[in-house]
Symmetry: C2
Subunit: 204 residues, 2 copies
């Protein structure tokens, strides 16, 4: 029996650049994980390929899958469903391959409940780090703008808590390198390897 | 205030090659952590430098330090004390630098009780992985030898449980690369960075 793969859940606040970082990760030759294609009910756009960009389904098909418990996570956004089919994820993990999900924060929370042993990586906006400088230096911002920014920063920090790792998206290449290291290092976690050793002993 | 450094505790069964791997890690130009020199009551050997190879102390001095709670961990071995002075470790961590300890399993257990937030890395003998092949193929081994080997393997696997990571020492260079990645990745753990963000917000 091969060891079950790692479920890698990559998320972060909207607008942080998750898609760009994810694409760069999969362009990197060293990546050794499978990308889980999302399912959506939104219209297929010219150039998009079913099964590559998204699995395009009707609203009825998607709702049937939800009802049958076939979605690992899903959310509704501007009248359309977006989600992750459970089957592909499970089958790929069972083959011993790592699966990479790039999903919204709400979806990540759903996955965390079902699969707490996944690796949860939060992409942090560089703003959060530059926050202090920006607020101090930009004397032109109104108090209202500053307060909104502070509130947003606070929410993002609190979101971070359910994740295992936080990586700043200041430079895409750097963020990619950090994420690759995190995933590699996770393979050495005792809870992931000790079962292999125990089973090895049992079989003797 | 700079962020407190990581305490890296590197251990494993005796004879696994901890010293060799640790030396290779510190010869690697990319390492960014400080080595905590151990203290001992054993005689200084020709060529050994006090404060580099060990801090050489008398038995009385060492016992006074134990009594005063100045040792992070210690053990007696063949009539001599070996241990880690707490002061250097704390001062270095407070400067925001990572500290690397290479210690015996018993010492690692003591450190774990005092500093559960450290990074605990267990070096695994390649034997453990080759165990199956070795036991199956070497028909020449007596049952007694096989049983002893099994018992040892079992003990080593159980020891592993208190650690965060297990790295196999099959090739020194590979083990070093894996350990370096683990340490880098640990800097991105949410529990290590979230405090920085929170303090940043509080200061605004």
């Amino acid at each position: 029996m091969s060891e079950r793969g790692l479920l890698i859940v990559f998320s972060g606040p909207s607008g942080v650049g998750k898609g760009t970082v994810r694409k760069a990760i999969f362009e990197n030759e060293n990546h050794q994980f499978e990308y889980s294609v999302s399912m959506t009910t939104r219209k297929q756009r010219p150039g998009e390929v079913d099964g590559v960009d998204y699995f395009f389904r009707t609203k009825e098909e998607f709702e049937t899958m939800i009802k049958n418990g076939e979605m690992l996570e899903y959310a509704e956004y501007v009248g359309n469903y977006y989600g992750t089919p459970l089957k592909y994820v499970n089958e790929t993990l069972d083959l011993g391959k790592d699966v990479f999900l790039e999903i919204e924060v709400q979806g990540a929370l759903q996955v965390k409940e079902k699969a707490p042993d996944g690796v949860y990586i939060f992409l942090t906006p560089p703003d959060l780090i530059e926050l202090r400088e920006r607020i101090t230096n930009r004397g032109t911002d109104s108090e209202k703008v500053i307060n909104q920014r502070m509130k947003k920063a606070r929410e993002e920090i609190e979101m971070m808590q359910v994740y295992d790792y936080a990586v700043v998206n200041d430079e895409v290449d750097l963020a990619v390198a950090h994420i690759m290291k995190i995933i590699e290092a996770e393979h050495f976690r005792v809870e992931r390897v000790i079962g292999k050793y125990r089973r090895m002993l049992e079989k003797l």
